[in-house]
């Protein structure tokens, strides 16, 4: 099986964790140990310091490594803190940055039409995925609100928790065709099988939550889930590749591993 991780970061958090992974090189070494082929990554400074600082660190850090794809942090743009959407997308393409993240509660803005209508509308048109994490800067209410306003938004809900959040994300999967969830902390026994049975294999993406979680946990759970091999491969690799291709064309396949 091949694995394309949609949810990993590197860099040193302000509050020191047990096992930080400081650099892209260290992240790649851990990926090699675990057998992860590629990863969509972000730098913790995008959350802990500032979008501008973290985005720059991310881009500089991954430039030399074709197996890593970037995921920048976005903000409302009324103070011109980041480029306008068209320029932003152009910069993204040039730097192998293929998705965006938002931490609205922690970065003190509202993720919706009034604050970010221009960017979110452009993301819908371009099909650029928005990643949100329930352990950093957004709640289920915030996710429900942005999807109500932008029902065609491609949105990947990460880190939804080990306490079982099916009652939260299944309604979103049913109503919004471009909502996906990742596997990080989806530890629920039989959860992968039930979700694939009810919604197909295309709505779940392999995400590790590394470095706060181990790569190996959800890799093993997926490898031995009682679902067809094609479904496993879709979750492990194909679904994220497809999302990226929808927005950016052959940017993934241009890279030879």
């Amino acid at each position: 099986m091949r694995f394309f991780d949609c949810n990993a970061f590197f860099g040193l958090p302000a509050r020191r964790p047990l096992a930080p992974v400081a650099t892209a090189e260290a992240l790649l070494a851990e990926m090699d140990h675990a057998g992860v082929d590629r990863a969509l990554v972000w730098h913790i400074a995008q959350h802990d310091v500032a979008a501008q600082t973290g985005n720059r660190l991310l881009t500089e850090s991954i430039a030399a490594f074709d197996r890593l794809y970037g995921c920048w942090t976005v903000l409302p743009n009324h103070a011109s803190e980041l480029p306008a959407p068209a320029v932003l997308f152009e910069q993204m393409y040039k730097t192998r940055t293929v998705a965006l993240r938002a931490f609205p509660d922690d970065h003190r803005f509202l993720l919706g039409e009034v604050s970010m209508g221009d960017l979110l509308s452009a993301m819908v048109l371009r099909r650029v995925p928005l990643f949100v994490s329930l352990i950093r800067g957004i709640t289920w209410r915030g996710i429900y609100d942005v999807l109500e306003a932008f029902p065609e938004l491609t949105c990947v809900v990460c880190d939804h928790g080990c306490w079982g959040e099916d009652r939260m994300f299944r309604p979103l999967l049913e109503r919004y065709p471009h909502v996906y969830i990742d596997t990080a902390q989806y530890l629920l026994d039989g959860g992968i099988e039930a979700l694939v049975s009810d919604y197909g294999a295309n709505r779940l993406l392999f995400g590790s939550g590394f470095p706060e979680s181990y790569f190996g946990g959800m890799m093993m759970a997926l490898k031995h889930a009682d679902i067809p091999l094609e479904a496993k491969q879709a979750v492990a690799y194909g679904n994220l590749e497809r999302l990226i291709e929808r927005a950016w064309g052959d940017i993934v396949k241009e890279v030879v591993v």
């Binding site: 530890l187 629920l188 590394f210 979680s213 190996g216 959800m218 093993m220």
Partner: protein
Amino acid sequence: MIGRSPLAREFWKHGRVAACPIYDMHGHMGHFHSIYFPRADAASMVRTMDEAGVRLLVFSHHAALNSPDLANEPSIAAVKEFPDRLRAYCMINPNYPEQVARDLAAFSNLFPQVYVGFKFLSDYHQVALTDPRYAPAWEMANERALPVLAHTWGGSAYDGEAVVREVAERYPQVRFLLGHACHGAWHAAVALARDFPNIYLELTAVFDDRGVIEIFVEEVGSERILFGTDLPWFDPHHAIGVLMNADISDADRHNICHRNAEKLLAPILPDLIA
């Protein structure tokens, strides 16, 4: 491949390894109010156990945790249905001393065919482990050197590290399994395990915190660490994957998966462990 060791390769390939059976020392069963479970009945759980090579699950039914009306009856029924694969902890809810008295009176008749020890859930019942209402169960466990699995959480006034230390001093013969290993207070858990030879660190909900297992193995030793998943909450394959990916040896993995539990349970279940 999630690791390069022979054991990691075997688990990755087959999902289970006969030479490394799993003893899951922290399970539950049945519906629970705040979560959807796809596999919560006994038969479905045994199916999961088969898929991951879990030899034995020691559990307490969710009804036993939170329904004094049903108490331990659902646990007892499940063990009788799968006597080769399940054993139960006798759940003690100290908010109902009269039920505790009935549970203790019934314990001897059901040990070890059904029960192997006790389960305390102090945070949820909001009664500290040191509360006198727990004393009859602690005393029975201490007298008979039985396992007690207590939910423990860092900083809790009911079952945090300070409370654990107090009862560990009071009941030195109890085989004291710290469920969730004083979650979050990792170094306090290490100190407790170093100070008290009867304390074991149980790993439910620890597997998703990268780095903890390595600290426990290095600072306590893998001989005092037990595998647990809260099944039907957490997929045992996730826990196995973490163990195989973690920076520990295959000997440590064998200890955590089965050897420690076998030593703990052998005096209680000699036929089953053999």
